[in-house]
């Protein structure tokens, strides 16, 4: 896999707009815990609740995530992790409370405002959600639709050359460049997961939500993907929120760990202050 190669970030356009302090080499130790309070807030949830009909999934969920943080969201099956991410993207409405993304009220946004907010955010969904009959490359090209809408981004065959190259570069970063022409429904589970990750990062998002990005990856590919995220956070200042059932990943790659349990955010602490046993408690 090419993921582990020491490459410079593919897109430097975003870097120029950001404070230099956010760009630190990957080798540098993690920022101290209190950077949370000084950096701008990228994601803020205030007393968010979600019900499906009568069934309450979670309530009174509040947290603030600083820009450039890597955050692990953990919790048992059915705890509501995926639901929380979908609420944050405005894909489903919240039942109460509000979510702010990049300083804007996401849960209240509509139409063009919501679209341009989403265009700055990447989402890797748990079920990959690739378009089955299209090529891997076309699927990645679709990741640009938010920033540059229109028919030229419907397929890799008609996409502008720069977009095709960016998409290929994104595939290369997840080690899938050799599969660019393969139809999405003919990829293995792990391959399609990596293509979904490429689709989410091709637009150089400022915030990346990754719902169990390593669930169908073999151990080595899983490490490679987490390394990739880690580099996005450290080199490009991306805020990465990932859910995981891998306690080791959560503690090693997360700066912060959020834990959903019994419909509440039971855990919100720095990874350094937690042990594997603390996390296991969430699953009881």
């Amino acid at each position: 896999m090419r993921v582990t190669r020491n490459s410079m970030p593919s897109s430097v356009t975003d870097l120029d707009l950001r404070p230099a302090a956010r760009v630190s080499p990957a080798s540098q130790p993690r920022p101290p815990l209190d950077h949370v309070s000084v950096s701008p807030v990228d994601i803020e949830a205030r007393a968010v609740a979600k019900r499906f009909g009568e069934t309450a999934i979670f309530q009174d969920v509040s947290f603030r995530l600083a820009r450039g943080e890597a955050v692990a969201l953990v919790g048992a099956n059915g705890a509501g992790k995926s639901t929380l991410l979908r609420c944050a993207m405005g894909l489903i409405p919240v039942s109460a409370g509000e979510v702010h993304l990049l300083g804007q009220p996401a849960s209240a946004a509509r139409g063009r405002a919501l679209r341009s907010l989403r265009a700055r955010i990447g989402l890797v969904s748990q079920s990959h959600n690739l378009v089955p009959r299209l090529s891997a490359l076309s699927n990645v090209v679709h990741g640009m639709l938010g920033k540059s809408p229109g028919p030229r981004h419907w397929s890799h065959m008609i996409a502008p050359q720069a977009v095709r190259e960016a998409a290929l570069e994104a595939l290369d970063r997840v080690g899938m460049a050799d599969f660019a022409g393969r139809r999405a429904d003919r990829l293995s589970g792990g391959q399609s997961q990596r293509v979904a990750i490429a689709r989410a990062i091709v637009g150089a998002p400022e915030v990346l939500f990754a719902d169990e990005p390593c669930a169908s990856l073999d151990p080595q590919a899983g490490e490679d993907v987490m390394e990739l995220f880690f580099r996005l956070v450290r080199n490009e200042g991306t805020t990465v929120v990932f859910t995981s059932h891998n306690i080791d990943h959560a503690l090693r790659y997360g700066d912060r760990v959020l834990g959903l349990s019994g419909g509440r955010m039971e855990l919100d602490a720095t990874a350094a202050s937690l042990t594997a046993r603390d996390l296991r408690g969430l699953y009881d």
């Binding site: 989403r118 079920s127 009959r133």
Partner: protein, 274 residues
């Protein structure tokens, strides 16, 4: 040790029970309804019994079918015209159905009201039989195959508009949601996620529409809207049963061939998936 007996707190699904009084009344009502309908349809045992001899009489007069080369060539050309009507009408109808279906599909690009109005419109189109559309277009554009083609176009829109919409409503919502999450506009999401996913169903529906168009086009001639149907009518009107028989056989051969061809195309186009 494991207890294999059925746990009392988790009953298995109920078995067959004797119908309740209400259900029994329901069945009785159903039977009465059927009898009433048969009466309305003029069902008569006498006629059923007397039909076979009369049918045999017709068959005797129709056989052998008229295979005179001149007649075959005339009918052949009429059949070609029939196919032209069917194919032109079905293709144009399928193409026009796509935008209509986009408006009819719930939760896609148009709002609830538009969905409802378009769907009612499509229901109306389907409610009017193809032969009635042909009559309308004969009045509008005059006798001839063009009226027939327009009837097929409208009939195809009524059929494909509805089923394309259903096909699009039925696809997995996941890819569309993920593209929505990239900030894509609705139209882009539909073009990139919904339509590619619905494509196999579209192909299937469109091929079925073509089969249907071929079947319709063979009888449009009865009302002067072009195609081989006129030959059938003339054959019966002039008691030229052998020629009428030839027409019927030709229609059967062509319709069966089209069905085979479309089945083959369906497998070729969709079956290669996975």
């Amino acid at each position: 040790m494991t207890d294999t007996s059925v746990r009392p707190d988790r009953p298995v699904l109920p078995r067959y029970d004797r119908p309740s009084a209400a259900a029994f009344l329901g069945y009785a009502f159903g039977v009465a309804l059927l009898v009433w309908c048969l009466a309305g349809a003029g069902f008569s045992v006498d006629k059923v019994l007397s039909a076979p001899p009369r049918f045999a009489d017709f068959a005797a007069r129709a056989f052998p079918p008229n295979f005179d080369p001149a007649v075959l060539s005339r009918l052949g050309w009429k059949m070609v015209e029939t196919m032209q009507i069917a194919i032109a009408g079905a293709v144009i109808g399928v193409i026009l159905s796509l935008p209509v279906a986009l408006l009819a599909a719930r939760g896609l690009i148009a709002g609830n009201w538009v969905n409802q109005i378009v769907r009612v419109g499509l229901s109306f189109i389907r409610a009017v039989p193809d032969i009635a559309w042909a009559l309308v277009f004969v009045v509008a554009v005059g006798l001839g195959p063009f009226a027939g083609m327009l009837a097929i176009v409208v009939d195809t829109i009524g059929f494909c508009g509805r089923f394309f919409a259903d096909d699009m409503e039925g696809v997995d919502k996941g890819p569309a949601e993920s593209l929505t999450a990239t900030g894509a506009r609705k139209l882009d999401v539909v073009a990139c996620a919904t339509i590619p996913a619905a494509m196999p169903a579209f192909v299937s529906t469109a091929l079925y529409a073509l089969e249907k168009a071929v079947r319709s086009s063979t009888i449009l001639g009865l009302v002067g809207a072009g195609g081989i149907g006129i030959e059938l009518k003339v054959g019966f009107d002039l008691f030229d049963y052998p020629t009428a028989m030839t027409v019927i056989l030709m229609i059967a051969v062509v319709v069966i061939a089209i069905e085979q061809l479309s089945g083959w195309a369906r497998v070729k186009i969709i079956g290669e998936q996975r």
